[in-house]
């Protein structure tokens, strides 16, 4: 690039660069998700692993096909498609037919990212777009939860996992309601320890609250996420459900149950914090986070679905440009009224 004899180096700003790159951040997030992912595999067995792999394959293959031929390796090597596929996979039920997981991955990258113009252009979190697409497309398969098999039956794959492409899944018969489903439809609570350790039915990666928090702590120490977003979501959700709980402790779940059940931790730590789809300003981040927290509880209690994290995050994603616009910091010397 530069001739050897030049002493004076000319370079445009920025002159100081951090080590933080997209690839590095994505690697950190993947590492942070590892414990919760392993816990999911421990609880749900080989079938869950296959679901994760199919969702990742769908995402990466779509990215590969629709990238220009000369930048394919570059685009795949920043790990974003891998992370999108993994995040989507973690929000899927473990007994989902594999072909649906694959289509979900393809929809996440295709409809969630590429259609908007590629990385950094998307309005909505790609993994959640993939999940919303799957939930609207295959509502029964996406809400059929299998009970945990545990490590002893690791190699036992549920028959529904292996359904032929485009064909219906045959379920093994035993289905298990998630803690949120039990709460909503049968007014049955689940022990807090089961929720924290992950010993419940649910999506592959959402059950273990403790390990999700651990990964979040790692990301916080690496400064890969804006702490305001998870803090705002969890805080507002806890506060809102505490108020409801005080009003009627029989009908409404308590704040701890609200935080540790369903996908709230997974969503708050790993999905809402996506830098592309969350506000840039600190004030905006608070508004965004509190909005999600309130919406989650509202949907869970008054909506038709037992879980609302996905829709809450997608809704606030849509509001992000507006939030950014209204929370822009004042330009120095401008906009202050005299007296």
């Amino acid at each position: 690039m530069k001739p050897k004899e030049t002493r004076l180096q000319l370079q445009a700003a920025p002159l100081l660069k951090q080590n933080m790159t997209t690839g590095q951040t994505m690697r950190d997030v993947l590492l942070a998700l590892l414990p919760a992912t392993l816990a999911g595999l421990w609880y749900f067995g080989l079938g869950a692993l296959l679901v994760l792999l199919c969702s990742i394959a769908g995402a990466m293959l779509t990215e590969w096909i629709f990238s220009p031929a000369d930048s394919r390796f570059e685009r795949l090597s920043d790990y974003t498609a891998l992370l999108t596929g993994l995040l989507l996979g973690l929000t899927l039920p473990p007994a989902l037919p594999l072909w649906m997981a694959f289509i979900g991955g393809a929809a996440a990258i295709g409809l969630g990212k590429l259609i908007w113009g590629g990385m950094g252009q998307n309005l909505f979190n790609p993994a959640l777009v993939g999940r919303a697409f799957l939930l609207a497309t295959f509502p029964i398969a996406m809400t059929t939860w299998s009970p945990q098999t545990g490590p002893a039956d690791f190699f036992q794959i549920s028959a529904s996992n292996l359904a032929a492409p485009f064909m219906q899944a045959a379920y093994d018969g035993v289905s298990a309601a998630t803690p949120l489903g039990l709460m909503k439809f049968e007014q049955q609570s689940t022990a807090l320890w089961a929720l924290v350790s992950g010993n419940t039915s649910g999506c592959i990666g959402e059950t273990s609250g403790l390990l999700l928090l651990l990964g979040g702590l790692y990301l916080l120490l690496r400064r890969d996420l804006d702490w305001r977003i998870p803090a705002g979501i969890l805080g507002s959700a806890a506060l809102f459900s505490a108020v409801l709980y005080i009003l009627d402790p029989i009908k409404f779940p308590g704040p701890l149950f609200s935080i540790f059940s369903g996908g709230l931790l997974l969503g708050a730590i790993y999905m809402a914090t996506d830098p592309v789809t969350s506000p840039l300003t600190p004030r905006g981040a608070w508004i965004f986070a509190v909005g999600i927290g309130l919406l989650v509880i509202l949907i869970r209690i008054y909506g038709g679905f037992p879980e609302g994290v996905m829709y809450a995050i997608l809704l606030m994603n849509a509001a992000t440009p507006l939030i950014d616009r209204y929370t822009q910091p004042r330009v120095f010397g401008k906009g202050i009224k005299n007296q």
Binding site: P139, I140, T143, F185, G304
Partner: protein
């Protein structure tokens, strides 16, 4: 091309009389054609509607071969074939020997997406429902539309006690004679159907009991 701007510049500016005449003529002609089309198609349309209703009544009241339209007015049920707006009407079904089998009662109420309209057969002697047919619904395809596409769900209503009240219960739970299996994944639609029938029962069963005097006989 904007006409309003160019009107006064145009050379052959037509007077408003011509404009009115053109529009009136067009309207007149259009009205004529529409009336013609309406009159031509009306018999077919009415016949089809009557057929659909009759089929539905015969379906929810097994063994019925003829029906009558009953209107509730001034605390009495009278036979009345003239459809009027605001009528509260049900249908009585008779078997081949002319004996009253039961009543087909229409009901409507909010479902998951839009209003569900349905018709169900009620046999007063046994205090039982003998069948249910969804006439109109926009429930979610694949889930809520099972309220009429799933034969197992529809079969729930083929001999269902109305006492004390119909309830939609999850599959596999113990049931009373007045309980039905809710559709997995479409609890709201199932419960909507049950609620509609219960509401119609609350409205009509006392009326039927009170009017089971001579007027309701054939």
């Amino acid at each position: 091309m904007s006409s309003s701007r160019n009107t006064h510049v145009g050379k052959g500016d037509p007077g408003s009389l011509k404009l009115i005449a053109t529009l009136s003529f067009a309207g007149l002609l259009s009205g004529l054609i529409i009336v013609l089309a309406y009159e031509t198609t009306l018999p077919t349309i009415t016949a089809y509607k009557a057929k659909v209703l009759e089929e539905a009544v015969f379906k929810v009241l097994p063994g019925v071969t003829s029906m009558q339209r009953l209107v509730y007015r001034d605390r009495a049920l009278t036979v009345n074939d003239q459809v009027q707006k605001g009528d509260e009407a049900i249908f009585s079904g008779f078997d081949a020997s002319g004996r009253l089998v039961g009543y087909a009662i229409p009901g409507a109420g909010p479902g998951f997406q839009d209003t569900i309209r349905l018709l169900y057969g009620y046999i007063p002697e046994q205090r039982k429902i003998s069948g249910m047919e969804i006439l109109e619904s926009r429930e979610t395809p694949g889930l809520g539309d099972k309220i009429y596409k799933d034969p197992a769900f529809v079969a729930n209503f083929e001999s269902l006690s109305v006492d004390p009240e119909i309830r939609a219960i999850k599959k596999g739970k113990p049931k009373a004679a007045s309980d039905i299996d809710a559709i997995t994944g479409a609890t709201i639609s199932s419960k909507a159907v049950v609620r509609i029938i219960n509401e119609a029962n609350r409205l009509w069963l006392p009326r039927l009991e009170q009017a089971s005097g001579p007027e309701a006989e054939r």
